[in-house]
Amino acid sequence: MTEQVTAPRRPRWLDVVGILGIVALGCTVWLGLWITPPDVVQGNLARLLYVHPAVATVALYWAGGVAAGGSLLYLWPRTRSLFWDRLAASAVEVGAVFSALTLVTGSLWGRPVWGVWWTWDARLTSTALLLLLEIGYLALRRVPAELDVRAKRCAVAALLVAVDVPIVHFSVDWWNTLHQGGTILDPGFDLHVHGIMLWTMGLSFVAFTLVFVWLLGVRYQVEVLQDAVGDQELDVSLSERWSEDADLVSVTGGPAPYGSGGAA
């Protein structure tokens, strides 16, 4: 029988963050869909403003920052601990979900406004590349290896990606200077966002950040459990194999396994 791997107790603060995240998200939905007025120019499409910028911020800065910081701290000998490795890996995985959401929500907005689902704009292209880089990291993560070997390999990969992302960003910025991503992030645009719309947008940033922290915490725990299960499965299959050998020996009367002093 396999002994059950017990989950580490979820810290209380994580539950609180989760509940706060759900409440904040609920308030964002309520304010965004019912309370705020439609935009003068974009009508109801402007309501994506309460989702897309916040999701993109989480994907790029929060997830990217935690992944790069965690990997760096793992590689630094003084702070080397599997905690940082698991945190970085969780951040990349949650970040990949948010990057994908950024692309999907941007695309939903782009279709009616630009007339196409996808355009070769600098910001879109660099986000798509970021998602591909994250998928590459996750593929590398899936390759079975010793925990510390995997950690070192993934930390280096994450850092190489972190170095590449600004280069990608600047190069595609030059490549297509006609990009329209500025519609949302243009500094001047904030002047047109007033009162309740601005508050809702601010709330969406808080809500998605809380959701990110919560997902990160939960994913971290799953990571710990996965490693524990992996260890245990190895132990179980080893002991099963040993007992198979012992049975075989007792039936055939062949040479005994090591240490039993059978063969002289």
Binding site: L75, L129, L132, L133, I135, G136, A139, L140, V143, V149, K152, R153, V156, A157, L159, L160, V161, V163, D164, I167, V168, F170, S171, V172, W174, W175
Partner: protein
């Protein structure tokens, strides 16, 4: 470090000179990509000429993946990597040596590709120095980033499928800057091309420095 780098580069190049895998497999593959992409675009001479820089760089990028896989494969024999690790050679030297060997092969490949593009697509490079500088800078970037990712995937059973997934998105800025610089060189528009060198220089420098620093830990992890 430099002496070690020369030793490692000499070893890799000698293996290539004897096995001729690069000559008989990587170079024909690069030319094949040129022809296939031309098929995809169609026989219209004007569009082919327009697409020539992009085709050149895509062919180079795909061939780089093969060259890196080959560079990893020569170390994948029984205990070869351990032997290299235990030989006392500075990891930074190994990195520089392997990158130099890959880079030299890529340079030869680019000469062949250049001839291929000129012959097949009837294009002419008007600003030769721009094309040459872009190629040299890109070669340093491709070789350094490639060897780093090669080391990352070395020793993995899935390395042949994993390596392209990891390395191609990372090399995207080179594809972009290289084809833009070449486009400018073909059109005789040097000022717009030099702007793209500003992407190639940091890429090459960053991966060169990062490689020298992290190759040691990477080697332990592989």
């Amino acid at each position: 470090m430099w002496h070690d780098a020369v030793l490692v580069a000499g070893k890799d190049l000698r293996i290539e000179a004897r096995s001729r895998v690069g000559l008989w497999q990587v170079v024909p593959f690069a030319l094949l990509v040129l022809v296939l992409l031309a098929f995809a675009i169609g026989p219209d001479q004007a569009s082919l000429r327009h697409a020539a820089p992009g085709i050149f760089w895509v062919a180079l990028l795909f061939s780089t993946v093969l060259a890196i896989q080959r560079s990893v494969a020569v170390e994948s024999g029984e205990g070869t990597r351990d032997g290299l690790r235990l030989s006392g050679i500075d990891p930074a030297g190994i990195f520089l040596g392997k990158a130099a060997a890959v880079g030299l092969q890529l340079l030869v490949l680019q000469v062949v590709l250049w001839a291929g593009v000129t012959f097949l697509f009837d294009v002419q490079v008007h600003v030769v120095w721009l094309a040459v500088v872009a190629s040299l800078l890109a070669t340093v970037g491709l070789a350094c980033a490639g060897v780093l990712y090669g080391a990352l995937s070395a020793g993995l059973r899935v390395r042949d499928t994993l390596l392209p997934l990891l390395v191609l998105p990372v090399l995207a800025p080179i594809l972009l800057a290289g084809s833009k610089a070449w486009e400018a060189a073909l059109n005789g528009n040097a000022p717009s091309g030099t702007q793209w060198l500003k992407v190639l220089v940091p890429f090459a420098l960053i991966y060169l420095v990062v490689g020298v620093v992290v190759y040691g830990p990477l080697q332990e992890a592989a």
